[in-house]
Subunit: 628 residues, 2 copies
């Protein structure tokens, strides 16, 4: 594993009080190897590593490796036009507060001219520096490398992770990182390390592994676990995320576990910052409660946080304003002692890693939402021992992530290489020396800018949805009453919490108030919530609404939850569409629901259900595959 001294990390602003001595009094992480899968225990180091110690003999001619010659790579450079970090406008870390950015900026976007906010990045074929953590060139980035990752990039990520993201890791030596090809790959490797495959016809039920998830969860995670025979164990959640206590909460599930149903779960999966699909952000207090339970029952916490930097401090205030509620007091999300020194980062709720005394937290990070999904680049943060096990999985599978993306991102953040400037100078003097590399300051500024963009979109969507949340209805005037005018009734059609983070809005539709709820269909069936929900989804895709919303059924952790609650929810993403479409669709969704409440003929509803039929059949196939 690559080890660096902290002087390599010139942008670090970490509190210097954590000296080596202070680290030595910290406890070591616990030995959690009893959770390893059979395959993990059987994995050995790569046999080619036997020769590594000879590679460093000065002047050695290495005929042992099986490498092609870097001279024959067709690319002489890799280059890009890349955004300056200032391209997008941030929102305040403390809305209404006195930080540098005024509260008004929460809703005002400074228009930017892309062409003026770009610079040219060049990765040269060869960089001369002998320091592998600074050497960004194609001869190394496009050659075979170790599964731990490209040294310049992995050294940067490691220090950013240790010093900026999680400066409070409580165990001795701190956390390590292992690169992945994105967080889907990361979770796949975590499952490989921590679960055995279980087959109903072949294995004892008491050996069946189990995965704790929120009752509404990211379906891909379930799709990864289910073919391995892993049992999905839903844990109740409220508006603030997974519930530690109460009926169906984490403690309840673990304390009352029935061994006849499978092994008590030792793995928990959650999206803890901008939860997918519910948008909840787990507070530090909630984290402490959940962690205590996991520690008591020896559960490993897998924290999958692609949206971590998308926390929206304005949501609570804007929600209150729009609903004429009293404005809430500002509460700092991070009250832990050590800070990164970057106000944006320090304003965010901290990861479980920062309270991980035992070393039982495995965090998944990705560049998918901070740069682009097409990177297929991410990393796991955990104890050095767990990271080593993840890297062994990479050695026999993905190897390291693509050198194309590793080199481009390393150069973009850490650049420029003197060789890159020289290579580019010879072609285009105009742009030479315009690129100084983002450095950590620029990287953090980029993230803050993206947060600003997505926070404004979130606020826009919520404001527009609020406008159509109620059905106003004038009852028919009653003769002989005091007035000719009927009473205006106000029916709440849907409800939502303004997202505190992430990319999604989780809308609960009150189908029980729909005129056809409980009506009798043409075949004598009773129209229920699930039927109305399916009908609405299809109805919304019709003109003039033309909006596709994700049905809550898809995120339900079991068929029971889908049947009990899932049908009443829709997930709306405020990230993917253009600004204009985002606004239009927010209005179209609201109008669509209003219009759906005017569907009063059973035949019209049944036509929609018929159209939904195909969808339902496909859905059944997915749901039955859950089998829990």
């Amino acid at each position: 594993m690559l080890l660096l001294n902290s002087s390599d990390f010139t942008q670090g602003k970490m509190d210097q009080s954590m000296s080596c001595d202070a680290d030595m009094v910290k406890p070591l992480p616990k030995d959690l190897s009893h959770h390893y899968s059979d395959v993990t225990l059987a994995r050995k180091p790569n046999s080619l590593k036997l020769l590594y110690r000879f590679f460093t003999i000065p002047g050695i001619g290495n005929l042992a490796g099986g490498l092609p010659n870097a001279q024959f790579f067709p690319f002489d450079t890799l280059e890009a036009q890349s955004a300056r970090p200032q391209r997008w406008t941030p929102t305040p870390n403390r809305p209404g507060g006195d930080d540098a950015l005024s509260s008004a900026m929460a809703s005002v976007k400074v228009p930017s001219d892309g062409s003026k906010t770009a610079f040219h990045v060049v990765v040269p074929h060869d960089a001369d520096t002998p320091d592998l953590t600074q050497k960004i060139d194609l001869a190394t980035a496009l050659q075979y490398g170790q599964a731990s990752g490209y040294p310049p990039l992995v050294s940067y990520i490691r220090q950013f992770t240790r010093e900026c993201l999680h400066p409070n890791v409580p165990y001795r030596g701190g956390a390590e990182v292992a690169l992945t090809v994105g967080s889907t790959d990361g979770f796949s490797k975590v499952l490989d390390v921590f679960t055995n495959i279980w087959v109903e016809e072949k294995n004892d039920i008491r050996e069946r592994p189990a995965l704790l998830v929120d009752i509404f969860t990211y379906p891909s995670a379930m799709n990864q676990a289910l073919p391995r025979g892993v049992q999905i164990c839903p844990v109740e959640m409220d508006d603030d995320g997974m519930a530690p206590y109460g009926p169906g909460g984490l403690e309840d599930v673990l304390a009352n576990w029935d061994d006849a149903k499978g092994k008590r779960p030792h793995l928990l999966y959650t999206v803890s910052m901008g939860h997918n699909p519910t948008s909840a952000v787990l507070s530090l207090e909630r984290r402490k409660d959940l962690y205590e339970i996991c520690s008591k029952y020896d559960v490993i916490i897998v924290e999958d946080d692609p949206y971590w930097y998308l926390q929206f401090p304005s949501a609570e205030i804007e929600e209150a304003k729009s609903r004429n509620m009293p404005l809430p007091m500002f509460k700092a999300a991070n009250t832990l002692p050590k800070k990164s020194g970057y106000p944006f980062l320090d304003s965010l709720v901290p990861s479980f890693l920062n309270i991980d005394v035992d070393g039982r937290v495995v965090r998944l990070d990705t560049f998918s939402k901070t740069v682009a999904p097409g990177c297929r680049l991410g990393w796991v943060t955990a104890t050095p021992e767990i990271c080593l096990r993840i890297i062994r999985v990479s050695e026999t599978g993905t190897s390291q992530p693509s050198g194309f993306v590793q080199a481009m991102i390393a150069e973009n953040i850490m650049g420029p290489q003197p060789e890159a400037v020289a290579a580019f100078m010879s072609r285009s003097r105009k742009d030479q020396a315009t690129f100084a590399g983002w450095k950590t300051e620029g990287w953090v500024r980029w993230l803050a800018g993206l947060r600003g963009e997505y926070e404004r979109r979130m606020n826009e969507m919520c404001n527009l949805l609020e406008e159509n949340a109620y059905q106003l209805k004038q009852s028919t005037p009653v003769r002989d009453a005091d007035s000719d005018w009927g009473v205006i009734t106000k029916t709440k059609l849907y409800d939502f919490k303004w997202p505190r983070g992430g990319m999604f809005l989780w809308v609960k539709v009150h189908f029980e108030k729909h005129p056809l709820f409980g009506a009798t269909g043409t075949e004598g069936n009773i129209i229920n919530g699930p039927a109305l929900s399916k009908a609405l989804m299809v109805f919304l895709t019709h003109k003039p609404h033309l909006v596709l919303a994700s049905p809550g059924m898809m995120f339900s952790a079991s068929p029971e939850i889908a049947a009990r609650q899932g049908w009443s929810f829709f997930r709306l993403c405020f990230a993917a569409e253009t600004d204009e479409m985002n606004r239009d669709c927010s209005v179209r969704f609201g109008h669509g629901v209003q219009k759906f409440w005017r569907v009063k003929e059973i035949e019209e509803l049944e036509a929609l259900l018929e159209e939904a039929g195909t969808f339902e059949a496909e859905e059944a196939e997915v749901l039955t595959s859950m089998g829990c």
Copy 2:
């Protein structure tokens, strides 16, 4: 799965006689699903796919997906300076023949000036074409996509594979492709699809899966299979690759299988073109024999061929010349009816796919040796059904390969996009319109150029090794003899076949002729071949030799083979080092062996063995993990 019509493939030169009618009379591939693993059978399509049918409604506002906005990707372009396909000089397809390239070129390299042989490649942020198979831009390449791969690249690879590489696939509809993040990933996915995990303490021995490999094989493949409990079953090989018949040959192993040792193998792994480590190229005739046996015993053939285009027709002739043997007759490697129309491709020995009547061949390809290992990009070619199973593994793991490399390679081969030219024009008029894209013609020319470079290196190394293969020794003059001069004896120290393909030279060292072979060590032990082999490896890393060679032990498919034969071999790579080092090291290796033969003191040998000690201990750990 992406389906294309052949008009998309403008460079195709395929024999047009394969009409649809001709395809319809071909047999369908066999159903091989009885070989699928439990996990493979349990995998379902991604649940998010349920919504795909709504995505295409015109004007639909998609709030259902969970995508970030492409506007917020920091990269406005991706660019590169890339080689023109003509940069490297090919060697003749038929040495001594009358093809366009003269035989003399087999050993003459035309020096090239890199700067004059480069052009500028630009991938724009947005390309306007609605044809997804032609749309190469960052808005799509860096966005989430389907695990089957980036449409422009996968459509290109698919047609190149079907029409140029394997035009003779005998089953109806032909082969499909599934992208991987390189062939290590490819084989990992193949193991996932075709083997259950087996644990000695838990599972019945009769359920143990097995993998047929050559007695000398690529160690990473074994490292991938072993932790899953897969039994490694070595098959004898000769100079021409895996042996179909004879003791220990494929038929023998399968016909005399003992079920008490595990399940009869249904999976075979081999590097069939430029075998790693032995450099053998399986002839079409040998392939037919092996295939017949696999068909009889229902074995799936995994053909891992990173070196496929590195076949060296000059090796046989140059070998004969250097040894004063009669020159061999030229024999065409590919006598199958359908051709690609590209003489270089048609001169190569064809893949097993071209005789795969049953659909039991799974071929692994990679860009690691044709572009660069850092691509982490490759593909599986197999029946559509098997490819679908591979793609399902990708869906819950790697997803698709990195968009950075997919876009760059697509643009480099298929480009340019009009939008790319426009974007680049605005910055650097000088280089505008210099890039026309390699197209298939350029891609094939690039491969032929690389083959030329590596073939020349191979010939150089072999020639230099020949010079030191013999020890010439003048015996002490014997008094009273007819002459004052002793007899000159010629001892062959090492032997090798000139590589017919790949990147490796497989040298057999005749340790049994070493002066200390059979001598008694200081602790009464007898000095044997394995001891001399270890000592030589270490000796060669000392000054002035300074050469590192891979010991044959590392490639031995079992501890028995390592003990019986492995120690007598070394693998030398003629690809990785510079031209100059390649020559120097070839001489240094020869001189080193010569010098090693002059080690006559047991103490000197034992000092080398002591130095090898650490290595041996590490090796033991790897070998015991094989446990078969």
